[in-house]
């Protein structure tokens, strides 16, 4: 006899990870493992990179640079999700909505790149310039995710809220059985937009950092942006083209292997 999943102690209580069989291996094992390994591997490679001679660098540099950029994006995205969900849930509480939503609205409308010089200097002083890029990316992604989640929470039908109240489904049960699954469609769409913005910001950040300070090429924010701009200035058009092809290919692969599949999975959470 098939049991409701929330009675099955072997499975998670989170409906969001109650994944249909055809997606289960893919989303629970293959994708996270691929992302974690890629992130750890790339950070290790980048940490040990010598100063590159961009006149002679080849396709290998373009691929590693693209993976380094992706690793930054992944770290910022995970941090943004972890912060965005509680921020949105707090703002959705009726007594906090009145003053928190205008604050969020102002915060999200401030162009994030104006902070870049200050943030970059602060993190460079701390000896962690990688943190500057991740922080900028995190903030850029955060508000897209927060507002997507708020939109998802607002689209929860009143009948569902009243049903939960009538049946006394409150606290953790309300959060995990109703709220989090209900935001999955909007969270997926918000994630796609946040990631798209992230690519723009991270490449700009890497390009800017490659020329800081005073035109001296810096290698401590190595990524596809810095590689492209360094290749162009070193006259290595082949490396520039390889980098361009690598980043476009990576975006297509991510879209087909993760975002499209997530969009399809999110359909079952729509009202």
């Amino acid at each position: 006899m098939k049991q409701p999943y929330f009675f099955n102690k072997k499975e998670s209580y989170l409906p969001a990870v109650q994944i249909p069989a055809r997606f289960r291996f893919y989303f629970t094992v293959a994708v996270p493992a691929m992302i974690i390994l890629a992130t750890l591997g790339v950070l290790r490679i980048v940490g040990e990179l010598p100063m590159l001679d961009y006149r002679e660098a080849d396709i290998h540099t373009a691929v590693v640079a693209t993976l380094a950029t992706l690793a930054r994006l992944m770290i910022a995205y995970v941090l943004a999700i972890v912060v965005a969900i509680p921020l949105a849930l707090v703002a959705e509480k009726s007594n906090a909505k009145r003053f928190l939503l205008p604050i969020y609205d102002i915060a999200q409308s401030i162009p994030i790149l104006i902070f870049f010089p200050f943030v970059a200097l602060a993190f460079v002083k701390l000896g962690f310039s990688e943190g500057a890029a991740i922080f900028i990316l995190f903030v850029a992604m955060l508000w897209k995710l927060v507002f997507s989640i708020i939109f998802g929470l607002n689209s929860l039908p009143n009948e569902i809220k009243q049903t939960a109240q009538m049946y006394n489904i409150t606290g953790v049960n309300y959060l995990t059985k109703i709220l989090i699954p209900a935001i999955i469609p909007q969270l997926t769409i918000g994630s796609i937009f946040a990631f798209a913005d992230g690519w723009n910001f991270v490449i700009v950040a890497e390009v800017l950092h490659a020329y800081l300070p005073n035109g001296v090429v810096a290698n401590d924010l190595f990524g596809v942006g810095s590689t492209m701009v360094s290749a162009a200035s070193a006259g290595n058009e082949t490396l520039f083209m390889y980098s361009l092809i690598a980043v476009v290919s990576m975006i297509i692969v991510l879209n087909l292997s993760i975002w499209q599949k997530l969009l399809s999975y999110a359909e079952r959470f729509k009202f």
Binding site: P4, F6, Q162, F269, F271
Partner: protein, 232 residues
């Protein structure tokens, strides 16, 4: 008496036309009562006050704790199967998981939908969805069951079948049922008493003292429809 409203008002906005003013009525345990009226007549506000979804502005409301409302639509969670939707409302009950599943299956069987246990809401017809919602409500053993326009989106055949099932459930469970409807024929077919609502007030209370099953072609049945229509 299981439910009583004493001079209950609900003010949404001072001076606005959507306020509920000075509503009084009482309902006995085991009765099948309907609230009938046009859209915007205040029926839904009365029901929301009954289930505690909104707070009264003044007056007194007596109601049992286990008052459950079955909505017209959108009350099943699309990511849960039929069985999971029913057992979800039993999460707080201090009984074993096996017992919860047993109760859920019993209620599904009562409404003749036990075969749908592993289906998802998007795979169900309108009538099946309403049956699941009713089975879920029965799972918590309610004292009062409120049906909000339960048949409005259903075809005639499904409606007829569901009418029979609801009357059977009402009798077998000695339930108190309150139905909201704008279809007078349906109200006369199912209820023992009806409150006609217009302009945010109860405009009349009508007794419907016919035996079940009722015949819609009966002369008295038709007269009752005319009587209710007049007071709306």
């Amino acid at each position: 008496m299981i439910i009583e409203f004493k001079n209950v008002s609900k003010v949404f906005q001072e001076g606005a036309g959507d306020n509920l003013v000075d509503v009084s009525f009482s309902i006995e345990r085991g009765e099948f009562v309907s609230f009938v009226g046009a859209s915007g007549s205040g029926k839904t506000t009365v029901m929301e006050l009954l289930v505690g979804a909104t707070e009264k502005t003044k007056g007194e409301i007596i109601r049992p704790k286990k008052t459950i409302m079955v909505f017209q639509k959108d009350s099943l969670l699309p990511w849960l199967s039929v069985l999971e939707n029913v057992t979800l409302v039993l999460l707080n009950e201090k009984i074993s998981d096996a017992e919860k599943i047993k109760i859920a299956r019993e209620k599904l069987a009562l409404l003749q939908i036990e075969k749908l246990a592993d289906k998802y809401p998007h795979e169900l017809s309108g009538g099946q969805t309403q049956r699941v919602s009713i089975a879920r409500a029965l799972a918590v053993d309610p004292e009062v069951l409120i049906l909000d326009e339960p048949f409005s989106a259903l075809d005639e055949k499904t409606k007829e079948e569901l009418h029979k099932d609801i009357l059977k459930t009402w009798k077998e469970h000695s339930l108190t049922i309150i139905m909201i409807s704008h279809q007078i024929e349906e109200v006369v077919l199912l209820s023992q008493r009806a409150f006609a609502m217009s302009a945010k007030k109860i405009s009349a209370e009508i007794e419907i003292p016919f035996a079940y099953p009722r015949n819609i072609e009966d002369e008295l049945f038709m007269k009752k429809i005319v009587e209710i229509r007049r007071v709306l």
